[in-house]
């Protein structure tokens, strides 16, 4: 059972890596167009960003490993987006793992509209969702990603993520972030209550050795709320708490 969960997690990471490989030839691609007549002059580029690749020492709970990454490839207006996030706990068992494949279109100066599918490998039972979202930069330079989901069973949920990069020096960056999950209906088999499910807040201090590689330390606070918290308690699980984080941010 344990091996299988690790395998599924590995598979989801492999999928993301595949996205990374897709993005990597972007450099070659940008060059490539010069061999063609210039009227089809559209530059295709890509990027891979792992905002979180970290291990958290629970100060009042279990230790948690966490990843949160995204990759895109495409033109200025139309892009394919791949997002993944998940958590491992208790000796590497994957608690949650999801992957999203999205089409993204530039709506305005700062905002992209995104739509696609999300697949949750964990928690079991695995589940597909439809996704629509808005990703961009809000006034004040806040990175915002808001998504709405409808599951294969018709359950509606949503997620909002906001983060901010405060440059302390040219390379030392303090990044506060908040993520909130909502659900319209409860989904007992996934231990999801209705209303606000959980809130996660973090403060990460990274050092940009290069723009690509930035190790960081930080703290996070996570809290399940309402019925979601009740489900967790009933199963003898933690409802949240503080953690000390060490990790690395990758941006290629």
């Amino acid at each position: 059972m344990k091996t299988r969960s690790i395998l599924t997690a590995a598979a989801s990471l492999a999928l993301l890596a595949l996205g990374a490989l897709q993005a990597a030839p972007a450099h070659a691609q940008a060059m490539h167009h010069s061999t063609e007549p210039p009227f089809s002059h559209e530059i295709l580029t890509g990027a891979v960003l792992f905002e979180k690749l970290e291990y958290g020492w629970g100060l009042d709970g279990p230790n948690v490993g966490r990843w949160d990454g995204q990759a895109w490839y495409g033109s200025d207006v139309n892009r394919v987006w791949l997002k993944t996030e998940g958590e491992t706990a208790r000796n590497g068992r994957v608690e949650s793992a999801e992957i999203q494949l999205l089409y993204s279109r530039l709506l305005s100066y700062y905002w992209d509209f995104q739509a696609g599918v999300r697949y949750d490998i964990r928690p079991q039972p695995d589940r597909f969702y439809g996704v629509i979202g808005l990703q961009g930069l809000a006034p004040g330079m806040f990175e915002v990603d808001v998504q709405g989901f409808v599951s294969e069973r018709g359950d509606l949920s949503a997620r909002a993520e906001v983060s901010y990069d405060a440059y302390i020096t040219q390379r030392l960056v303090l990044q506060p972030n908040v993520e909130v999950n909502f659900a319209l209906q409860k989904v007992p088999e996934l231990d999801i209550g209705s209303g606000i499910n959980d809130v996660e807040a973090g403060l990460r201090l990274r050092y940009e050795v290069t723009r690509e590689i930035s190790p960081y330390i930080g703290v996070s606070y996570e809290r399940k709320l309402g019925d979601t918290a009740r489900y967790a308690r009933n199963e003898g699980e933690d409802v949240g708490g503080w953690a000390f984080l060490t990790g690395i941010r990758l941006f290629f």
Binding site: A28, M31, T35, I43, L106, Y167, I168, R171
Partner: protein, 642 residues
């Protein structure tokens, strides 16, 4: 000063320009035959390994050298140039600034009938030289120019020049990067601030606050920060790309390219900016410079202490060093990232003089944001049929803007005009409608938004306002900090009293065209998205845009409006551009006109060369990411038939 002596010395000076790489023997065939048979030149493009910074990096060279060989032509002759492509990719060579038939201009897909040169192929260019002066040539395919496909052109005049000199040197400035150019685009696309290590930080905020003399200044500093944050823009973004080593004729500052002179001689320096992304501020401590040519055309000599040279521009200057000492010629980049430098000396091989500290880095102000370029489209007297594509035009929602904060923190302005607004044309203000100004309500400007801007239509000077309107700013009209930066004054950070070249100082020595009213005004808004690194003209990137059509024989006026925060040296192939700087018939003839951030400028074009012509920003990565158009000059009949 006999002719033979001149040409020998010239050969010496120019030869030195080509020392960076050994020339391929015999590559440049120049049979000394009479005028009837065109002289033939051979250029071979190939991949090479260059070592500029101590690392061996892939590069591209012409005849094995970077820069490519000097093409030395004579006015009135016809030349044949065979370009052989030994690259593994498609290529092209464009003769920058030369007036020639469209089919010989060398822009794949735009020049008439020219589709570029396939890998392994050879293309023969053949054209007459109808002009004299300093020009250059470069690849017009992808980013090959950044990799090393550029060289200089000198055309000797058919009639003697109105100035004399003893020595003649080409000074070709450029920017070299160890990175692959396509990698730079990918970096800018995913993070426009990738190369900016001069961002505003908490540390810089604290030190600014500590330096501030009083509470009012401190609150200005803080609210300025908040405002830039609200606008989601970065005032420290002056140069998009970093990591450059700046070269003079392929020589790093330490390699110290040297131009020889004997005290008392007059030395001609032909400055060519072949930098892909770099504006240079040029000065020679201890020497003044007399500008005698701009963009290959003779101008009435004007003596300056410093000048800014935008990418693709050329300025020929004369200097007269009297002392037998070593003079340091400094070309500091506009964003203060580095220097190109060389020496004027009486002997070769001297070590470079130590570089001075950088001048203060410019920081953009709200004025540079061009929040006040006034009405647009029809209101500005220009039909504007184009519809902006989503994401190309910065939202001008200044709702949260605090008027008090619009004063730039002292000394930080790129375009604080330290009394240099002298160029403002008061005469033309007579035509200003003061009654309309009365309607301007200061208080309403605090919450300025699109609506309020519409109200500024009353300030429109109409098409006749021309450059004078461009040169005039709101500061002059009593709006204080609402100043629109002067489109023609370059603030290079020179000491007070220093003479800094402006387009206003340039007067064509031999005007080509009489003064006449434009038949049409075409609005050219320079637009883009810094956040996504998209660049465009009138809100449309090249890949999506339609050509701009001009009628053969017409006098078109391009009304440039720079809505972005960056400088854009706009280059139109095939015809001269005449910025309306207030010199009447003597307005200079330029092939590239630098449009400063947040400014507008009228530029007239005599559409006398039929065919397809490229029109683009000469910041290489701006062009590559969309700031480009095709201009078609067609016979009026053809145009009517369409």
């Amino acid at each position: 000063m006999t002719n033979s002596k001149l040409s020998r010395r010239r050969a010496l000076g120019l030869g030195a320009a080509a020392l960076a790489f050994p020339a391929v023997p015999g590559a440049l065939a120049q049979p000394a035959i009479g005028r009837a048979i065109p002289r033939e030149f051979n250029l071979t493009l190939s991949h090479v390994t260059a070592n500029i910074t101590g690392r061996r990096r892939p590069a591209m060279a012409i005849n094995g050298q970077i820069p490519g060989p000097v093409l030395h032509f004579r006015e009135g002759e016809e030349v044949v140039i065979n370009v052989t492509n030994r690259l593994r990719e498609h290529t092209s060579i464009h003769w920058h600034g030369l007036i020639l038939p469209s089919g010989q201009d060398g822009v794949p897909g735009i020049s008439d009938g020219f589709q570029g040169i396939d890998a392994g192929g050879t293309h023969q260019y053949r054209f007459p030289l109808v002009q004299a002066g300093t020009y250059w040539y470069h690849s017009h395919s992808g980013l090959q120019e950044q990799s090393g496909i550029y060289g200089s052109i000198v055309i000797d005049p058919a009639t003697p020049e109105p100035f004399g000199y003893d020595r003649d040197y080409i000074i070709q400035l450029s920017d070299w990067t160890d990175e692959t150019p396509s990698h730079i685009i990918a970096n800018l696309k995913r993070d426009p601030g990738y190369y900016n290590y001069n961002k505003r930080t908490l540390a810089s905020l604290i030190s600014e606050l500590r330096r501030a003399p009083d509470g009012a200044t401190r609150s200005t500093i803080v609210s300025d920060r908040i405002m830039w944050g609200d606008m989601r823009m970065d005032p420290t973004d002056i140069e998009d790309v970093g990591g450059y080593t700046y070269l003079v004729n392929g020589h790093t500052p330490a390699q110290n390219f040297t131009s020889l002179f004997r005290p008392g001689e007059t030395v001609r320096l032909r400055f060519i900016n072949s930098g892909a992304m770099t504006h240079f501020d040029v000065r020679i401590p201890g020497l003044e410079m007399t500008v005698v040519q701009a963009h290959g055309n003779n101008v009435r000599p004007v003596t300056v202490d410093e000048f800014r040279i935008a990418p693709a521009e050329t300025f020929d200057v004369l200097v007269r060093p009297r002392d037998g000492r070593q003079y340091q010629v400094l070309a500091e980049t506009m964003g203060r990232q580095g220097f190109a430098q060389f020496s004027l000396a009486t002997q070769e091989g001297l070590p470079a003089l130590p570089l001075p500290p950088h001048r203060p880095r410019p920081v953009l102000t709200m004025a540079d944001m061009g929040m006040n370029y006034g009405p647009s489209g029809l209101d500005r007297g220009t039909p504007m049929p184009e519809v902006d594509a989503p994401g190309h035009v910065a939202p001008m929602d200044m709702g949260g803007m605090d008027h008090s904060a619009m004063k730039a923190p002292a000394g930080s302005s790129q375009d604080m005009q330290h009394g240099s607004t002298g160029g403002m044309n008061h005469g033309s203000m007579a035509g200003m409608d003061h009654s309309a100004m009365a309607g301007m309500d200061h208080s309403s400007m605090a919450g300025m938004n699109h609506g309020a801007m519409g109200g500024m239509a009353g300030m429109n000077h109409g098409p006749a306002g021309g450059a004078a309107a461009g040169g005039m700013d709101h500061a002059a009209m009593g709006h204080g900090s609402m100043a629109m930066p002067d489109p023609l004054v370059n603030n290079v950070g020179a000491p007070p009293g220093a003479r800094v070249l402006s387009y206003r100082d340039l007067r064509a020595a031999k005007p080509l065209y009489p003064v006449r009213e434009p038949t049409r005004i075409i609005e050219i808004r320079l637009t883009g998205n810094m956040e996504r690194y998209i660049w465009s003209i009138n809100g449309n990137s090249f890949s999506k845009a339609q050509p701009i059509q001009l009628h053969l024989g017409e006098r078109a006026r391009f009304r440039f409006v720079n809505e972005t925060m960056m400088n854009h040296p706009m280059h139109l192939h095939g015809v001269w551009m005449m910025p309306q700087v207030g010199n009447g018939a003597e307005n200079p003839l330029l092939h590239t006109v630098n449009i400063k951030p947040g400014t507008r400028l009228d530029v007239d074009i005599e559409a006398d060369a039929p065919g397809g012509w490229a029109f683009h920003c000469h910041m290489l990565y701006h062009m590559e990411t969309g700031m480009m158009r095709k201009v078609e000059i067609v016979a009026p009949r053809t145009a009517a038939a369409r």
